[in-house]
């Protein structure tokens, strides 16, 4: 799958709002705390392949943590 999500982990506040809107349910709370003391979310390497690049997670995140990427080859997918 050509989609991919990046978390700016230092910005994440661990609110988990993104986890509930992901249609594939691949975002999870990690066991890491960031510098601010928040338990950040993650997508494990295996699960990343299930990402549809829908960007719902980014739309939901109140802290502009998430960047979503798609492959160009997949036509018409990007909005």
């Amino acid at each position: 799958m050509p989609s991919r999500v990046e978390f700016r982990e230092d910005r994440c506040k661990g609110c988990l709002l993104c986890t509930e809107v992901c249609p594939t349910g691949i975002i999870q709370q990690s066991s890491r705390f960031n510098q601010k003391g928040y338990k950040v979310v993650e997508i494990t390497a295996e699960m990343m392949s299930e990402c549809k690049g829908c960007a719902f997670c980014a739309m939901m995140c109140p802290d502009f943590v998430i960047n979503v990427f798609k492959s160009e080859s997949e036509k018409g997918g990007a909005a």
């Binding site: 109140p62 502009f64 979503v68 492959s71 160009e72």
Partner: protein, 253 residues
């Protein structure tokens, strides 16, 4: 050859700076909606932001716009002054529910009634966030706050004020809508509403108003996820979403 395309394009006017908001607070989302609308409409360089007093007092740290800090509740008056001084600029206020519906009631009512050609983004989280969770005019009956420790009593304090309905009833209003940002569907509608509000200002149609139902997990004493659910289960039933006035629409709700 596959080239990677970035789906998320955060508008430049949104500064690269962590917000001071609590986890799961919807202020950040509301900021983004404004940033997107101004960017999409090409208004960024022509816009003046009128901030208010509340958790969003630092909004100027997150939106890279010429900005002014208003005394608590007075943003609509400050914005009126700005718009009269610079009629060619896009002017908007960003206000909380304590700010707009309580101390600033006279200012928002008259600004709307005069039909000042400005836009108001009203973030209703049913509580005074910044000062630590006191009762607001929009607090739901039964809701516990630091000044309604046994829950808001209808008998003693009345019930939650529905501002969009009241604003929509005033003459000078071009557009009034209530939105939420608790689901993707609602966020998409909210994006459209905020954009429309600014478009109406560009068209000079009069006052435009968007109420955003928002969480305050901290002062609701809820997890962000639970707070987000409360929007659906408690707030929307009392504060129905939708368009309450649209001077360009055929039918009004």
């Amino acid at each position: 050859m596959t080239q990677e395309l970035r789906v998320t394009n955060y508008p430049q006017v949104l500064t690269d700076r962590p917000t001071h908001y609590c986890p799961g607070c919807h202020h950040g989302t509301a900021h983004r909606l404004v940033a997107e609308a101004l960017t999409d409409l090409g208004l960024v360089e022509n816009t003046i932001l009128v901030g208010s007093i509340g958790c969003s007092v630092f909004i100027y740290n997150y939106l890279s716009l010429d900005a002014i800090e208003s005394p608590h509740g007075r943003a609509p008056a400050v914005a009126t002054g700005i718009k009269r001084a610079r009629p060619d600029k896009i002017v908007f206020t960003y206000q909380g529910d304590g700010d707009l519906a309580s101390i600033g009631m006279a200012e928002i009512m008259h600004c709307a009634n005069r039909g000042e050609n400005i836009t108001t983004i009203f973030v209703n989280n049913t509580v005074y966030g910044m000062t630590g969770g006191q009762m607001a005019p929009t607090t739901l009956v039964g809701q516990k706050t630091t000044t309604s420790p046994s829950g808001r009593s209808q008998e003693d304090t009345g019930s939650a004020i529905r501002m969009t309905e009241i604003i929509a009833s005033l003459g000078g209003v071009a557009y009034a809508e209530r939105v939420a940002v608790n689901t993707i569907k609602n966020i998409k509608k909210a994006q459209k509403a905020v954009r429309k509000a600014f478009e109406y200002q560009v068209k000079g149609l009069g006052f435009s108003f968007v109420e955003v139902l928002a969480t305050c997990p901290t002062n609701w004493h809820m997890t962000p996820l639970a707070a987000n659910k409360r929007i659906e289960t408690e707030m929307i039933p009392y504060f129905p979403l939708g368009t309450y006035k649209d001077v360009l629409a055929k039918e009004e709700k």
